[in-house]
Chain length 335, copies 2
Amino acid sequence: MIYTLISPLDMHLHLRDEAMLKVVAPLSAHSFSGAIVMPNVVPPITTIEAVIAYKERIVHAIGNNVFEPLMTLFFRDDYSREFLEKAALHVKALKLYPSGITTNSEAGVASMDIEVLRPVLEAMSDLGLILCVHGETNGFVMDREKEFGSIYESLASAFPKLKIVMEHITTKESVALLDTYENLYATITLHHLLITLDDVAGGMLQPHLFCKPIAKRYEDRDALLHVSLKAHPKVMFGSDSAPHPIHKKECCGCAAGVFTAPLALQALTELFEKHNKLANLQAFVSDNAQRIYGYKPLYKEVKLIKAPFCVPSSYDNVIPMFASQTLAWSIEHVL
Amino acid sequence: MIYTLISPLDMHLHLRDEAMLKVVAPLSAHSFSGAIVMPNVVPPITTIEAVIAYKERIVHAIGNNVFEPLMTLFFRDDYSREFLEKAALHVKALKLYPSGITTNSEAGVASMDIEVLRPVLEAMSDLGLILCVHGETNGFVMDREKEFGSIYESLASAFPKLKIVMEHITTKESVALLDTYENLYATITLHHLLITLDDVAGGMLQPHLFCKPIAKRYEDRDALLHVSLKAHPKVMFGSDSAPHPIHKKECCGCAAGVFTAPLALQALTELFEKHNKLANLQAFVSDNAQRIYGYKPLYKEVKLIKAPFCVPSSYDNVIPMFASQTLAWSIEHVL
């Protein structure tokens, strides 16, 4: 059994930098035609020079793969309109982090006050730049995304022409917002389609399934599955694949992030086939994103075959999801 | 500043066996006058011979400390009344685990059906044996204890003369049950008075704070604090101190359990003093337990002094709570 995806896109990807970039960039570049690359490296990407230089390092790291890194800027509320006009030539989106909410987000915005954000968001809206948001408050870990819902509503109402992507949504409340505000979109990860908090902390503690936002309840996962499997026109696949070296996952105090890039398409194919929704996968992993971002990707055919794929125990020093487990689908070849 | 506790008791303690027993037993025996010792070793303690032999190993391990291990049997629904009559000479309580719910609980009861449990529970009730319960269902990790509430209610109603201890409670719903059923009691751990899920998984993942039941919400912790600080007559301190060697806490898949025995009294003194409730600590860590269990402990004075206690980074290969941190109170000496 064979299934071919055309130009799959990962609309939320962490490639990090330096040695880690060299390990993970070729893995994404093998499977995907392009990816929205998150700007929360150290230091965060806040200048056009940094965007260009980071893109060059990525292009160098991917080798001969057909793959376009779609660059983003780390959102700051003091960018000028002039700066954003120039930046729009180099980036598709700005990523907004509330300060300190996840890995390397310390430089994020201190306040989500609409009036503080207005100048930058109005300029972005005029320029067609997309706003990607890590939507969590600093509240109780299971409530953070739900509490952020009212901020999404304020942003969507205040800037009706701005496309706002609720990144890596994990709750049924976020799913419901998709049908309430025309300009709210979402990315959904592989792991949030598969796991709940039970998988992270219900049996043994599983550091390699620990991520932000944390996996929630069964009814939340079911809501995510529902819109993904039907390829709801406002949802896009975004892996949030986030490599951490093993010592940062297993020492006292484990970093958040699940590494899925090299197995995401295989696992998604297995999941969609299981639910008899394989016909919708192309839209979930590419077509919806093309339409939402107004982006025409590089042409790439990824041919998947229903043959066992034994996920490696590690990629260099990074442990992937499904390490040493077998998935039902493999990538046969890429054209 | 000095504060003296008389015969402090730990009403829920894991001492394990063999090498680990030798590491941890002297630490509890130094601080406490006695402890209810949990029977979920491998294999579980299900015979009188095993109770006697385990007690001998414990007594051997504690050295010259004044300390009485109060033994328990691993609950099985097929114990005969004759067996329980003999067992009552050697144990204070039986510990009931739903099968598979926590470390070494695979041999627990498969069904919580009252009629299945009736013969053993009626015999225990007649014999004055106490029923200690790990009260969790196999539901979603944050709901397991709350879901078990109706089982506590059924047990308490069906066996009104049986003293039932809800072990290591973590929710406001369990606290509420204390005032609803005369024969329901509870142990409360140190760590559940201090942490919430935010401490386990809200920032970096903290394997050394991972325990079962998992730490819950702020309102749950506040409810536990409320009844502990006032030394509600139906609550007792039970550390649930559970040592795991470091490789079982930090490898892929971390075991559940927080090791607090050697610092529990110091940390409790700090907590109760902070809330101006030091006058109630004696009842929380000893007097309530004596009355509930009808037990007169060995006499022991534990003199605490307000002087910094730097918690060791490890005890042998076990990482304690507050590793390498400083508590405000130390144990000055023990008589």
